[in-house]
Symmetry: D3
Subunit: 223 residues, 6 copies
């Protein structure tokens, strides 16, 4: 506790953009079905979709001091990601912090806790994925850390990892695996385009994926 790591490595912006284009579900599959944050992490408004480098925050319950510290560490294109040290739904973040974060080029917030001023945040176009919407105020008394590894909503996140977020939720991609994952995800999307056309034309997955024989072997009976 009480450490701010100032120089973190980030993935290449072009790679980050490619991941954004693929979306959460595809990226999650492409990297071997890992990296998802828990399903309770929901967007405060629908339609946002992004990928960005994580500036991570470990903060005590009900204490948002470290958000101010973290904003100074944000570079354009980053996303803030906060994990409380014990479960908490307080409203750590609102429109003033969002104003400050946007001025630094911050793209959004992922927070395993609460957020407030959500009508303002929607108007501002500042997306947040949160555990709760809750106006409960916080204090500024106890240190946490910035840019250390954290477990956020069940997923391990290192500073500089790529956060992909959309209406399906949030997925983390290890910085070292970002490029490979982007390539796999794009390949997956291409393959899906092909399948989508065949399915739309009425072909069945049972036939496209050649499932009938294996289903029969497993013992599926038609009555």
């Amino acid at each position: 506790m009480g450490v701010v790591v100032q120089n973190i490595e980030r993935a290449d912006q072009a790679v980050i953009d490619r991941l954004a284009a693929c979306g959460v579900a595809t990226v999650h599959e492409a990297q071997g079905r890992k990296g998802l944050l828990a399903s309770y992490m929901r967007p405060i408004y629908q339609g946002a979709r992004l990928a960005a480098s994580a500036v991570t925050i470990s903060a005590p319950p009900g204490d948002n001091w470290m958000l101010h510290v973290a904003i100074e560490q944000v570079k354009s294109g980053d996303i803030l990601l906060l994990a409380p040290t014990s479960p908490c739904e307080d409203g750590y973040f609102g429109d003033l912090l969002a104003t400050s974060a946007m001025a630094r080029g911050c793209r959004g917030l992922v927070i395993d806790a609460g957020v407030r001023d959500v009508a303002d945040l929607k108007t501002m176009g500042f997306p947040v994925w949160a555990k709760a919407i809750f106006a409960q105020g916080t204090v500024k008394e106890t240190l946490g850390s910035v840019n250390v590894p954290v477990v956020c909503a069940g997923a391990l996140v290192h500073p500089g990892d790529v956060i992909v977020a959309d209406d399906d939720g949030v997925c983390v991609v290890r910085r070292e695996e970002a490029e490979e994952t982007a390539t796999k995800a794009e390949r997956r999307m291409a393959a899906e385009d092909e399948k989508r056309k065949r399915l739309a034309a009425g072909e069945l997955g049972l036939d496209i994926y050649k499932m009938r024989e294996r289903l029969a072997e497993k013992g599926l009976k038609y009555a």
Copy 2:
């Protein structure tokens, strides 16, 4: 497990359409306050309202193989309804399966588990009522069954039962009771129209429903 029932009986389409016009709350009341699925079953987008015949699926946790099997059993105007054999929030269903289902005339999905690609599903106009929005991928390893009775979100559903769903949630109507329920629901709607006018004009429910005497008998005191 491992059974696909191919020929199920469905309610008359005209009856199904009448139930759709009544909506969940009215149908639930009309059939004696039964048949509701749990309140955690929420639409992934607002504004959809439908009634359709259930093609039921019993599937293992984290395994969406039976959805491919079930889509072959869908007839135009049906809805898929999936109950996992143990609690699960994984994303069994996304835009590819929705494409395939729509090509078969499927009207939507009710799933006591998770769904993904929700932005795409909204764009496609494919409504889903689900327990969770979660991108978590699934496997295709273990058999389940199609068109067997299931308990879904606390409600017993037989294949061919009528599913009514809107922004209030989901209600099941036994196929054998569909016509009678539609008639009762329509009568209820007519009666409500009458009352709505009187209430809008400022009359009180206390007077319209003649509650004052019974309240006094029960001992209600005005201070």
Copy 3:
């Protein structure tokens, strides 16, 4: 149980309107971070924002009789607030009751239970903050009370207290403290305007709030 208090005091309408203009998060902070209802109290549609005097209802689980009684007690500009005597998600309230309430000038409903006909309520412009959306019907058999103090979603509410509600949730302001709270909230908004400009211009909270020294004293290390 079984008491209806008919004459309750209300705060001055001008004060209520000033509180509405400030919103939940600001009012909550202005009165010393108290009065919030639990985070599970969510609006059934986004964008509503109001303040109103509470007509309180204590009702048994699954019994909505007292809502009819309470509507007679509503004066123009009031809001209904219902707390069940034990946890319940049933749909106590729908479009007919909303029609009646609106005819009396009721501004909305806060209910630590369920609500139904939510598509209609949205169309009517009748806002509700609820624990659940659930079509489950209720009975009219057991008395409760109207305009008695209740604990609703974890907050103590007296009849005539001011309820402030928006997309962030719901906050209660004691009637006796409404004017003082409005004044403090407005002062807070003015101060925030100033800070918002500086933050938007790129100044950091660390500097505006002079946090650097105290962070260092607490032992924050930059690596």
Copy 4:
């Protein structure tokens, strides 16, 4: 609602006793991994283990009237099983009802709601599997039904079905399948005894169940 079925069929007592001897986990497996009630159904004290015929109760939330009606229907060796018509944690049942039920030969209670007087119930040796321990009182105003099919904690239960319950939870066995399930469960227990000895002697499941080859085929790598 409002129906009491007086003559229900029960399984043979000898079969019921055989199921009791097998326990919940074994019976659940023996009948094809079905019939479990949700994991939140927990015993109020540890160590009870039984099987009994279900006298089912469908009751409104917060209304325990039907328990009195149901006790008259109990025959020696039965178990009461209550499902509320909407989710409820109220304390429907306490030591007086248990005294009455025991006087009729009732073996216990399964309730998807709350129970109270748990210290007394433990002293009396009256086992209960419940969703909650909660002293909240109930009313006697609204009818429900006795000995109709109910969905209890996610499982469909018909009157006269066999309820098996122990520290692992609760499982329902269809009356018609009770004998076959008992036989399968006993076979399973015998097979497990054999395996238990080999495992206790240090043999690995990998070898006993010949899993190594299939794991390798699936691609398991040892590093």
Copy 5:
């Protein structure tokens, strides 16, 4: 926040002892089915049963400073009762604080948050009713208040109110109503003794409470 009220009134000890003898369920009923804390408030070990005067604590999430302040306010026979200002499960209290509290004559703790060292507390015979068992440590940075009214687990508690707690949970009795409630509770117990004997002898509640006629009027049908 930041207030310690030093002189609170307490109920008469003899009255408190009479309430303890009646237990939670009976006291709750005797005072008109009110005053119960939420069902998630569970004892850390079974078998404790007490009544005591509440020394109340309002504390920030994750900050147990006020417990030290509160212990100085404890008089022999009191119970500590802590409500966090926002939901929290951290372990505010362990064996050291219990040692200190016991030295002051404290009878136990009711906490709408977490507790730790539960094996030690059981050995010491210091009962706790808590929302969670969680070892998570807390800080001492932010003020709360002692002996102010709080909402704890859904119930309003004033300092000096009588807390009744046993294996069924926790109930609060207003100090001013303690004597009357004790008298009603004792009367209830006496009446129950009579009924218990008749029920044990096989009489039915249907007959003792003369329910048959009213059930028939409501429409109950025997099939």
Copy 6:
């Protein structure tokens, strides 16, 4: 997925034993208030207290195949720790697997999922900390991994890390930090012994920890 790491490093057994003697709460504090698993991880029976080296398992929902694989990797004194790849409460583990694990010297199980045969496990003296007790059976179809880093109930665990578990829950200590943490924890225990005596003698924490001045500075008022 699909990797079994066979040679993992473990902490020194003497250090592990020292951590066991300190218990969860003390170890958690000693290492800077980190490493706790979520509060829902509860022992299936009370009184167990241990420390052991983690053999970690990442397993699909509802599939316990990897437990068989993992048991071969257990050395005497180890503990199994399983994290499902998505939330699951199924009963992955029962008395047969416990028999096998005990034969290998396994000390217990930590599982962010369900366990069954809990009465047998208690009789065998095989402690389990689990999210749920649930008899639901699992399949053996899909690979997971053994001895890879996992996030279990919100905490990151590497193979060979030391797991400390008792009635307060579960805490993980990084292998590399085990010795230092043991030393700090023992120092903490010694310091607590001293304080416990003074508190038992009636001294107040306010005085022992010299809190009065700082409380006054923060503004605490005595009324």
